[in-house]
Amino acid sequence: MRNSIGRIATLTKRNIKEIIRDPLTLIFMLAMPLFMEILFYAIFHTMTSQFEMKYLAPGIAVFAQAFLSLFAGLLISLDRTTSFLTRLFVSKARPYEFIFGYTCALLPIVLVQSVLFFVVGGILDSSFWSVTMLLGILLSLVTAFFFIGIGILLGCLCTDKSVGGVASVIIAGQSLLSGMWFPTEGLGKGMLTLMRILPFRNATMLLQNAVNGYGDLFADLISPLLIVLAYALVAFISAVLVFRKKMRA
């Protein structure tokens, strides 16, 4: 057990270095979403409630997490195609230790994302400051599990050339189906149902409701939380199974 924890810590440390030393990671996961938060707030917050900070900051926090799928996938697929993972498979490390190593490396980035977007949100709009921000930050770790799980799965299945294209579907899904960029009132019933059953809208709603308060605990918080958790669980179990299969192949 002690050896296993030691190996997970070693893998995590390496993965953190790989991620933060790639400038594209920092641009797409932090700088670009931050720029969008500031820009959309500055231009649109007086025109539509959609872009008030209480909706925008939690929405941006989840949107930025969608890039975790891309960069987790890219890291793992590159490790595969360069045979780096093959070399590590000859060591005594086990499949779950690799999965933990990749996941634990991304969680600090999720924390930095949420804290950054919430604090900047509070600076731009002082009414956004609230103790419920802490609940939002905590739940952002839960929503991140879905995107990390998808990223690990993509990394196992795609090459470093194709992972970007496939991950962009997840990023587009988060943009279009989260309802954060446009009002959902005018949408058709079918589209609304789709948004309700997929994790993207639920992840955004979960953070928005956690930060802004909720009327119905089950409908506003527990239901979206369970839906996101269910998708995260499926993504992670699939990722572990595919990773194990790849490791044995």
């Binding site: 790989e18 030393r21 045979s83 000859v90 060591s91 005594k92």
Partner: protein, 243 residues
């Protein structure tokens, strides 16, 4: 003593037989070169011996540990450097060694000792602060082989270690590999006949998953009536010497 012994080892991928009943002994301390054209089964054989893939039938023993039943024991005495440069791209040379040593359960003192030994053996000290992605192909390959030595293996597998390197880098790497001879058993696969001729104690030739020949280069010359490994190899695998 046979450090590696394979017994009728076979690997099938759907309808393709990648390795077809290979039985082979590799002695302690020798450098054994596996030659073969693309798809001959060399890499698959190495993947089975390093427990990366399971055989369809047969068994193999590394230091008397079965690759089927004692994978952990096999893994504790081997290491591998694959044909691609398998290093952590954004880590420095020093961090790569530290990472791989820590993953193998080394203590801080052991990590420092491993670093000092590898800097000296591979001249890596001069590039220790450079990120692996910024190194030339030759240096990356050196680092890749150096990492395989961190765990102090008894058996080292080198899968096409000089693939894609220029002639100077290749010769430098030969020097490094020669320095390892005798310290451990080395199994090397290569497409370069002169590499096998320069480095190997014994040569194995594979074609279509089968092991056609095992022996010294002198025995190979005697069997084929040729006086260099390249011509002897072509004669052995049935190629056209006049092409």
């Amino acid at each position: 003593m046979a450090v590696i012994r394979t017994c009728d080892l076979r690997k099938e991928y759907q309808d393709v037989v990648a390795v077809d009943g290979v039985s082979l002994d590799v002695e302690e301390g020798e450098l054994f070169a596996l030659l073969g054209v693309n798809g001959a089964g060399k890499t698959t054989l190495i993947k089975m011996l390093t427990c990366l893939t399971a055989p369809t039938s047969g068994d193999a023993f590394v230091m008397e540990h079965s690759i089927l039943r004692e994978k952990e024991d096999v893994k504790s005495v081997i290491d591998v450097s694959m044909q691609e440069t398998a290093v952590a791209r954004n880590l420095t040379v020093e961090e790569n060694i530290e990472f791989y040593a820590a993953l193998n359960g080394h203590t801080k003192e052991e990590i420092e000792a491993a670093k000092a030994a590898l800097y000296s053996a591979f001249d890596l000290g001069q590039v220790k602060g450079k990120r692996a992605s910024k190194l030339s192909g030759g240096w990356q390959r050196k680092l890749s082989i150096a990492l395989a030595l961190v765990s102090d293996p008894k058996v080292l597998f080198l899968d096409e270690p000089t693939l894609g390197l220029d002639v100077i880098a290749r010769r430098e790497l030969w020097k490094t590999i020669r320095a390892l001879k005798g310290r451990m058993t080395i199994v090397l696969t290569t497409h370069y006949m002169e590499e096998a001729e320069a480095l190997a104690d014994r040569i194995g030739i594979m074609k279509g998953g089968k092991l056609l020949f095992v022996g010294t280069k002198e025995a190979l010359f005697a069997e084929t009536g040729k006086d260099n490994v390249e011509d002897a190899f072509i004669r052995m695998v049935g190629g056209d010497l006049d092409a």
